[in-house]
């Protein structure tokens, strides 16, 4: 009864289904393809437990800060202060431990609390004074950089860093798994449960999905947004602490570049599994793609600049393909 194949341009249902799958799983497929390719090209160096542990260990700090950023973007805001904040936190913790001789746990607690306060400030500026979050967090971040230089007088704190502090990041725990990885798993796991499996997480998703509707459904939108910034700030603090421990020094600007890596991971993540939405699991996949990409290039001795080119290109291609695939599959 019906005429079929009306147009050559028309996509068959099969093609559409395939495109839909590609839009959702493209990044994961890409990640696996990358791992397989590197494994074939460099069977001795790449696919080893040691190398994988190493990649994860390296990537953990970026994953933690990206996990925090995910919360800020899930509630519909951007947090550009995280890299600068992490740098300041690194200096502070080193200063507390080296100069003030504070017990390490106390120092860690103070710095993380400070991270929460920075998040609170960001959140207040955005929700109460109603400054656009890009501007607000860029402003706060710049101020934090200034504070970092003021505190350290521009000189890295290197001398007298106690071994116990270095062990925060360099140590291993359960089954010899590096501490960084354990902390990362705890943080991302906790954030995933918070967002996906708690009533509070429902409110968080609602605010990001449609803030007007969330407000009229009785959600306290400002409070949820502030919470997003606070979590982002606390994760930045954690990354700052672990980085200082890994480097064995507190250096102004040491963590600044984590901002870009975190954004790349978060946006790559939004092209994963869900149609353009930010979520914690996606961020994890995004961070893994970047980490394995860098590692592979390192093993092949590719120059540093190519790593940046790679990071930028992967981001654009992955997000672009996902949205293209999605819109074709929808028609």
């Amino acid at each position: 009864m019906s005429d079929v194949a009306i147009s050559a341009r028309r996509l068959s249902p099969g093609t559409k289904a395939a495109l839909g799958i590609f839009a959702r799983y493209g990044t994961i497929i890409g990640l696996l393809a990358m791992i397989v390719t590197f494994s074939i090209l460099s069977p001795a160096a790449f696919p080893t437990v040691g190398n994988f542990t190493n990649v994860l260990n390296q990537a953990s700090l970026a994953m933690i800060i990206a996990g925090g950023l995910t919360l800020a973007v899930v509630v519909g805001e951007l947090d550009l202060s995280i890299g600068f904040a992490a740098s300041l936190h690194g200096i502070l913790i080193t200063g507390f431990v080296v100069h003030d001789k504070l017990p390490i746990p106390l120092g860690v607690v103070i710095v993380i609390a400070l991270g929460a306060v920075i998040g609170l400030v960001n959140g207040f500026i955005v929700t109460k004074i109603k400054v656009n979050s890009v501007i607000a967090t860029l402003g706060v971040g710049t101020i934090l950089t200034g504070l970092a230089f003021a505190y350290s007088a521009g000189v890295p704190i290197v001398a007298g860093v106690p071994e116990a502090f270095l062990q925060l990041s360099l140590g291993r725990w359960l089954f010899g798994i590096p501490n960084n990885i354990i902390v990362m798993i705890l943080v991302l796991g906790g954030l995933w449960v918070l967002v996906e499996r708690t009533p509070l997480g429902q409110e968080i998703q609602a605010v990001g999905g449609n803030a007007v509707a969330a407000r009229l459904a009785g959600v306290n939108v400002d409070r949820i947004k502030i919470l997003g910034f606070v979590i982002s700030g606390m994760c930045a603090a954690l990354t700052g602490i672990l980085l200082a421990s890994r480097l064995g020094s507190g250096t102004a600007s040491a963590a600044d570049s984590y901002l870009l890596t975190a954004f790349a991971a978060v946006f790559l993540g939004s092209a994963t599994l869900r149609d353009g939405e930010f979520h914690v699991l996606g961020t994890l996949v995004g961070a893994l793609i970047i980490a394995f990409g860098f590692n592979g290039l390192n093993i092949f001795g590719a120059p540093t600049f190519s790593q940046y080119v790679l990071q930028g290109a992967i981001l654009i291609i992955a997000v672009g393909m996902a949205s293209l695939g999605r819109s074709l599959a929808e028609r």
Binding site: S2, V4, R10, G209, L216, A217
Partner: protein
């Protein structure tokens, strides 16, 4: 299926002799696993006002999205002027002389009226620049003809839905469309505005423009259309014209059987004490000194024209805006909600007017959308703040059944539902919570006749159980049908109170135009 099938019956105006403007045959379309259209056919003669009706989710909007080139059919054939056409893109649809006014109105808030009218229309240029002055000269008479009262260079921000609708009509006329498709045009218009719309539609038809008119309001359909196609579950099930075109036949074709019209029991039920009280509530310019008392167990209607300040009043009562002056009391205690969250805490609920912008999370599931105002009920417990997903799914399942929401399951994203089914989700959220006071702003907009009866029944049921319900509606028939008492608002004031037999369509419309 006992509906009269009168395809091929003589058409008024001798249209059977002319080549139909548009012919669609056996159009099918699936979205993922949902077969939205299984095979629909329809043809439209030049200058005809053709009606299209069907229950929520029957496939009406999908069909016109295909005509508009927004979706591609999986199978079927479309002809214009007897020639087979591939529509493919919205641009092509425009070239073919079709213009669309979709269910969810399209406009760009940051632009002027004129810019919105000219959206996507090739524009006159002068020295390579868009010549807005000349364009304005050309557009002004058309804007006058459809009755756009706002100046062409005004921003569309703050214009009413009706005015935005007129802008869309105007755009169609500027493009010299031969077929204008209107998806539920009167859903957000008040009585007076609807009359003006009908006049415009008849005028278009007289000048040879065809109109495909989709609506759930059967009176309008009967009033305007010469032929009506009925869709049910993605198929064309009837085409009614001439003597066969009457209300019972339409209803039967739409629902596929007779509908049980719930008769209102005329006996006034005993209403409870005052739950919510407002005194001299004012927020200029829209609300000016409104006083009202809402009792437990009553359904209080607020009628009036769009723009009379009813939505703004609802927002004040719900804490979404702060009043300039005036007082409110809830259960006899002073009530000064600082936010909707605070209002919800003390037992209020609001179904807002614009479901997509103000009520729904389109990419999220039905279960998510229903549970967002009921989170305390989906937690495992106070000391275990984890979400009980099974409880959430089963609660959603109950609502889906109670409101007969047409969806595959509770995890279907709300954005994939048809307009009417989205509205049911927006209402279901609050029916689940059972607040003390429920405010519904245009609760049955875009809802089909079966579901409308069902929503009315649920509202009455809640009121009987003691809830205080405030219903805002621009549809003059709805309030007398549903309410115990009606207040009519005009220009920010309450101008009339109607009770018992005095509540009638006529009385409400008359009072709406009263100079306060």
């Amino acid at each position: 299926m006992a509906a009269a099938f009168t395809r091929g019956a003589p058409q008024p105006g001798g249209a059977e002799m002319t080549v139909p403007l548009l012919v669609a045959r056996d159009i099918a379309k699936a979205f993922g696993g949902t077969q939205a259209l299984k095979g629909v056919s329809l043809d439209i003669a030049p200058g005809e006002i053709h009606g299209l009706v069907g229950a929520n989710g029957a496939g009406k909007s999908t069909f016109i999205r295909i005509l508009a080139g927004l979706n591609h059919p999986d199978a079927g054939r479309i002809e214009l002027d007897g020639r087979r056409q591939e529509i493919g893109t919205p641009q092509r649809a425009t070239e073919l002389g079709m213009s669309f006014i979709h269910q969810e109105l399209a406009f760009v808030p940051g632009m002027t009226v004129l810019q919105n009218i000219m959206l996507g229309v090739p524009k006159k240029t002068r020295f390579g620049l868009t010549d807005w002055r000349a364009i304005a000269r050309d557009v002004a008479p058309i804007a006058g003809r459809v009755g756009i009262s706002a100046p062409l260079n005004a921003s569309v921000k703050g214009l009413s839905t009706a005015e935005i609708w007129l802008i869309n009509i105007c755009r169609a006329l500027v493009r010299k469309a031969r077929l204008i498709v209107m998806d539920e045009p009167t859903a957000s218009l008040a009585a007076g505005e609807a009359e003006r719309l009908f006049a415009i539609v008849r005028d278009l038809s007289a000048s040879g423009v065809s109109v495909l008119y989709i609506s759930h309001r059967l009176d309008e359909i009967l009033n305007l259309c010469t032929r009506v196609s009925v869709f049910r579950d993605g198929r064309s099930v009837a085409e009614l014209a001439g003597d066969a075109l009457h209300r019972p036949a339409l209803v039967e074709a739409i629902v596929g059987g007779a509908i049980r019209d719930t008769q209102r029991t005329a006996t006034a039920r005993a209403r409870g004490g005052v739950v919510l009280e407002a005194k001299n509530l004012t927020r200029v310019p829209k609300v000016r000194g409104v006083s009202l008392e809402l009792h437990a167990g009553e359904v209080l209607g607020i009628g009036g024209l769009v723009g009379a300040g009813r939505t703004e009043l609802a927002r004040l009562l719900f804490g979404a805006d702060r009043p300039d002056s005036g007082e409110m009391a809830l259960m006899g205690r002073p009530y000064t909600p600082s936010s909707p969250a605070a209002a919800v805490q003390v037992g209020l609920g609001l179904v807002p007017e614009e479901r997509r912008a103000e009520a729904l999370f389109l990419s999220k599931s039905i279960a998510f959308n229903l549970s967002i105002a009921n989170l305390d009920r989906v937690a495992f417990g106070r000391y275990l703040p984890l979400m009980n997903r099974r409880a959430r799914t089963s609660m959603a399942g109950e609502m889906i059944r109670a409101l007969s929401i047409k969806a595959r399951n509770a995890s279907t994203p709300v954005g994939r539902l048809s307009g009417g089914n989205q509205q049911k989700v927006a209402i279901g959220r609050w029916l689940q919570r059972i607040p003390k006071v429920l405010i519904l702003d245009e609760p049955t907009r875009g809802v089909d006749i079966g579901a409308r009866t069902e929503i009315h029944r649920l509202i009455r049921q809640q009121a009987e159980a003691g809830m205080a319900v405030l219903v805002i509606s621009s549809e003059p028939d709805e309030l007398p049908e549903l309410c115990d008492r009606v207040l009519v608002m005009a220009e920010g004031r309450i101008v009339r109170e109607l009770t018992g037999l005095a509540m009638s369509r006529k009385a409400i419309v008359e009072a709406s135009y009263v100079e306060p």
